[in-house]
Symmetry: C2
Subunit: 222 residues, 2 copies
């Protein structure tokens, strides 16, 4: 089957680093689903506002090979699991699947929250989430079980905004704090002296992690 791109995702994740590893209900990060001209038909969304959640089927970018086993970052990056037991991009067909919250329909686009996708990600399908078919609250989560509640506290150092960027608004700040709480570091790294860089929505963030707390060292407009 040859897939047609029906829409592109637009959000602040202009860099792969920092994209949450799964979609999450509590994520405040909004993504605009911008339909391609051929599929931008108001009629095709009729009734969609009755749903609180949607599915997105999308494409991982820059993936052109698969591997029978992969190293999930949350397992420290040194344990191999079967690719079909993971959500890794390195699958035979590099499709991503995310449940997102529908925030609103706006100018024929969809505004959703919680999508774990890069800015510019191609979208192949959008479906309503049906709780009686899709929700399995008590599902066993395999090796992912142990990592599901993992979350770091985030603090801003006194000098983080010293360069005088008063234009950092509450939404961007909230998004950045959420991203950092999800611990975007590669799974195999835990060096308190190391400084990491995150680009998000036009902002460059420098941070480190000390004793399980993320310290934002600097935030600057890019």
């Amino acid at each position: 089957m040859e897939l047609k791109v029906i829409a592109y995702a637009r959000n602040g994740h202009t860099d792969k680093f920092g994209i949450p590893r799964q979609s999450r209900e509590e994520s405040p990060i909004e993504t605009r689903i911008v339909f391609e001209p051929e599929y931008k038909v108001a009629e095709a969304l009729r009734g969609i506002e009755g749903y609180s959640h949607l599915w997105l089927i999308w494409g991982f970018s820059e993936v052109d090979s698969w591997s029978p086993t992969v190293r999930p970052p949350r397992l420290g990056g040194n344990k191999r699991m079967g690719v079909f037991a993971t959500r890794s991009p390195f699958r035979p067909n590099p499709l991503g699947l995310s449940s997102v919250r529908l925030v609103r329909v706006e100018d024929g686009d969809l505004i959703v929250s919680g999508a774990d996708v890069l800015d510019g990600t191609p979208i192949y399908d959008i479906k309503p989430y049906l709780s009686f078919s899709d929700s399995h609250e008590d599902a066993r989560n395999g090796f992912a079980e142990e990592t599901k509640g993992y979350k770091l506290n985030v603090e801003m150092s006194a000098t983080a905004l010293l360069n005088g960027d008063a234009s950092l608004n509450d939404e961007i700040r909230r998004d950045i704090e959420y991203i950092l709480s999800q611990d975007p570091r590669p799974g195999y790294q835990d060096d308190p002296d190391r400084e990491y860089k995150l680009d998000y929505a036009g902002w460059n963030v420098a941070f480190g992690v000390e004793k399980g707390v993320v310290i934002i060292k600097k935030i600057q407009k890019m």
Copy 2:
């Protein structure tokens, strides 16, 4: 993106008529996911048995056009909804999405239950179900809400097995009763005199529906 078939679904649904309209936890119907030679790699399933549920991304067969609006069968077939507000096959990319229960791994294949797919359906991806990401128990189900608990009682007429088919085993009988309880009739039909035919797992079933009860009139080996 050009999708590769990684596996085919094998089950008793040799006919489209009777396939449940969504995957359901309570469905007893088992499907074998038979990997294509290139993807039949035991390693690729390592760790999958730790998950109780999986996602299947699959292809609707014989669909080569889409429509901005469709008529969901459960709304009586005369009300139009936007295609992205439904799980209709007539979408720009005819992809299906089903959460299924993993029953077991057997000879390098997966045995799952609850898949709402035709025998021979191409499978494009298999992912673990992650409850912390995929489960939204309280999601609002739009127009599908009103139909979610819909279910018919099923009775077998005294003469249904009169032709002496003692070989009808409990599993097949349980599957057939489940399928009929889901009301496979086209949404716009409710004629008590009409007789319907269902083919399942090599059996031909004749039934009618009277006052909300399915009456199995005859079951015969095909």
